[in-house]
Symmetry: C2
Subunit: 208 residues, 2 copies
């Protein structure tokens, strides 16, 4: 690598940025910039262009889901984006990778694992966490699986429940009927073992 690497850390928590910044010193010649919200990320990408790497928190002002990741990835095609998230459920990982991320790091990971992942991405490789493979075929294929997993459509609708959308709003957004949305929501509830949207939201927040 010629010269110092430019890395942008985007997280709203100072201590996390500090810890990550310290971790990155192990890479040698690195120049680290920080952003606390989407506005600051975009400002950095516009004015100071050309970052080699963007470490992007998935729970910060302006970036709360894969859509936010997609926006950032599209506005910085030359920068490798690694998503860092506390929620490492398979559907989240898949959504982020589909959105254009080059890697996904769980916040529960040890520092060494994070560093290895970052080095892999800097080397041009995609990094996918092992958890992602544990559930094997469930999320790894874009085709529907036979297993009793949450289908892509259900995952999509799950995200919209989390975003506070009503059945009607979901139907309009996806170009479906109310009836179809209800069918998907009920199927999702059955798989999650819940019987209300608020419980489905809690499932996404806590365990998964």
């Amino acid at each position: 690598m010629i010269g110092a690497m430019n890395i942008l850390i985007a997280d709203d928590h100072a201590l996390f940025r500090d810890g990550m910044s310290l971790l990155l010193q192990a890479l040698g010649q690195v120049h680290v910039a920080e952003a606390r919200n989407r506005r600051e990320i975009e400002a950095h990408l516009k004015h100071q262009d050309l970052f080699d790497l963007l470490l992007l928190d998935l729970d910060m002002p302006g970036i709360t889901n894969a859509d936010g990741v997609k926006r950032i990835c599209e506005s910085a095609p030359q920068t490798a984006v690694v998503v860092i998230s506390g929620n490492d459920a398979g559907y989240v990982v898949k959504a982020c990778l589909d959105a254009g991320a080059m890697g996904f790091i769980s916040k529960s990971s040890a520092g060494k694992v994070m560093l290895a992942a970052i080095q892999m991405v800097l080397a041009g490789e995609r990094y996918v966490p092992s958890i992602y493979f544990d559930n094997s075929s469930e999320y790894s294929s874009d085709a529907a699986s036979t297993a009793s997993s949450i289908s892509p459509r259900q995952q999509q609708i799950w995200q919209m429940l989390i975003d506070g959308k009503s059945n009607k709003e979901i139907a309009i957004a996806l170009g479906l009927t109310d009836s179809t949305v209800k069918q998907h929501v009920s199927a999702l509830f059955r798989k999650l073992g819940v019987n209300s949207r608020t419980q489905a939201i809690q499932k996404a927040r806590t365990n998964s």
Copy 2:
């Protein structure tokens, strides 16, 4: 302070624990233990007793709200508990302090601020963040306020919405009628500017 201080860091994110651990070195002689969930916290408190300080994350397996904080505080009355949270809304701060916490640190705070807060608590003082005072009378008094803030009852019910409870479950838990719960829920929605419980949950997650 005689000898080394015993400090327990409870957070499910490794990097955060590392960053905090590093930060604590500035205090001099400290012995740091770590816990990743409630089970590990309780194990530490039982077997290794007598911690001077417990830095407790408010979003980790087993500890998601003030009730969790209360349980921990009660099981370790000799240990000063400082809650660390990404959500520093007034009602969260108040709930934690009421639960018995000696301090409340926002994850968005700079390291220096965190360190100062920790030192204050170790000195026997309660630390309350300045944000808590910005909204002045709203949360600082246990009496109801005239301001258009979220009342204690509404905060309590808000938390139960977040936990996925139905109106009926809330009514039973609080010994109220369905009608009264609905009244509180509607009043909360009006203040939050939403019209569904899923949106109310999202409000708690994102901005506030």
